[in-house]
Amino acid sequence: MCLAVPLKITEINGNDALAEIEGVKRKIRVDFIENPSVGDYVIVHAGFAIEKLEEEHALENLKLIKEVTDALESI
């Protein structure tokens, strides 16, 4: 029901969209997303995009993991 990995939007037509993961395309709805556009990465749950992933937030997120591991390095 819930896909743990983000999908990439490849086509949008109103609230209907196509999103792709590893070459497989799925029909999704984007009603709950603010300003969806082609190329956005979204989290999809039961056919609905529930959040858009911003690259900037993903990088911050990686930084957070790195901070943990770097702190461990220095122990």
Binding site: A4, R29, E34, I43, A46, L64, L72
Partner: protein, 362 residues
């Protein structure tokens, strides 16, 4: 790709080492969400943890928490020739209380049962089968209910009269409160459900810390995310400093997805609801609001909801409460396998028993 970096083996090694070196008394950490259960089993994280850190699966698999009484009601409904049951695939194999009955078996002998990927697909089905009554099985938490809301909206807009929802939707906060308040509750920390948190936002989980002081981390689904979250929970426990941390910041904001959240309460209202193996939990379910009762399958078909939780041989209830590991069930891997499941935890792709079986967690 950027998303792959959340499972960088070097980071993982370092975190695993730190987890194993931390001096900490025996603790139990519960992952609430079924997708975490699967991710943990798949990545073999349990085998990387020290003996004193136990991961327990919680009540976050929608199919697993659906009581057998509801499965029986659905199976009765599926026997009605005028009805088409539209459901997510995970519900197909769940056995009812009568031997050999499931939606899949009924379909094989001619019942109208259709698998759908989204609630909207069920509305389409209704559009194309005007002579039938299409009943969508609404299961799942705050992540799935917004989709059901939109389906009702779409049916209303298109004037579709043969679309109904059998709502078994549930809310996360009341069941967590219920679990925590059980006298034998012994979980020391929560891996909070990533996608439910996308909808609720950090603020929707603050009660875990503010009211119950339980270390809690909102967590993503890659191995790096899960190990980082476990480490953070352990650190909170060690330092005696319970707080809500957000490890899944690429997807979860403080406010959550308000548009999706609000759509739930436009169409549904909270009601007492029955959970498998747990019983009736106050205000933990969602029923259609009065003004949308024409779409309510329970009203339309006059389904009498049985709210007494029946005892079955399956121990899913205990598994969901974190009281028993799947491998502790006498039926596990013997009478109960994914091909021939006895309980929903073995059926659902998010169920703890299925996860243990598939990835051979012993």
């Amino acid at each position: 790709m950027l998303w792959n970096q959340f499972k960088n083996p070097q980071d993982i090694q370092r975190i695993v080492k730190a987890i194993n070196e931390m001096d900490i008394p025996p603790i139990k950490i519960m992952e609430i969400c079924g997708t975490h259960t699967m991710a943990i089993a798949k990545s073999g994280i349990r085998s990387l943890l020290p003996q004193n850190v136990k991961l327990i699966s919680g009540p976050g698999c929608p199919v697993c928490v659906t009581p057998i009484e509801r499965i029986d009601s659905i199976i009765e409904l599926a026997k009605n020739r005028d009805v088409v049951i539209a459901t997510y695939g995970d519900m197909l194999k769940v056995p009812g209380s009568k031997y050999g009955e499931s939606l899949e078996r009924l379909k094989a002998i001619g019942a109208n049962v259709e698998m759908v990927y989204s609630a909207i697909d069920a509305v389409e089905l209704a559009k194309h089968n005007k002579d039938k009554k299409v009943v969508f099985l609404g299961i799942g938490f705050e992540t799935t209910t917004p989709g059901t809301s939109l389906a009702i909206q779409a049916a209303k807009k298109a004037g579709i009269k043969n679309f109904f929802v059998f709502s078994m939707h549930k809310l996360v906060e009341p069941i967590l409160r219920g679990l925590i308040e059980m006298p034998d509750f012994d979980i020391n920390g929560f891996i909070c459900p990533g996608h439910v948190s996308v909808i609720l936002g950090e603020r929707g989980l603050e009660f875990l810390v503010k009211e119950y002081k339980i270390p809690s981390v909102i967590c993503g689904f890659e191995a790096g995310d899960i190990l980082t979250s476990i480490y953070k929970i352990m650190l909170q426990i060690k330092e005696g400093n319970a707080k809500l941390e957000n490890e899944y910041m690429r997807a979860v904001s403080y406010e959550g997805n308000r548009k999706a959240f609000q759509s739930i309460f436009e169409y549904f209202e909270p009601c007492d609801d029955l959970w498998r193996g747990i019983g009736l939990v106050p205000m933990s379910g969602l029923k259609l609001k009065e003004e949308f009762s024409e779409y309510d399958a329970i009203e339309h078909f006059k389904i009498k909801l049985d709210n007494t939780d029946k005892e079955t041989a399956c121990k899913c209830g205990e598994v969901i409460k974190g009281k028993q590991q799947p491998t502790g069930c006498p039926l596990f891997g013997k009478t109960c396998t994914p091909e021939n499941p006895v309980g929903p935890c073995m059926v659902s792709s998010e169920g703890a028993c299925a996860a243990y079986y598939k990835y051979q967690v012993i």
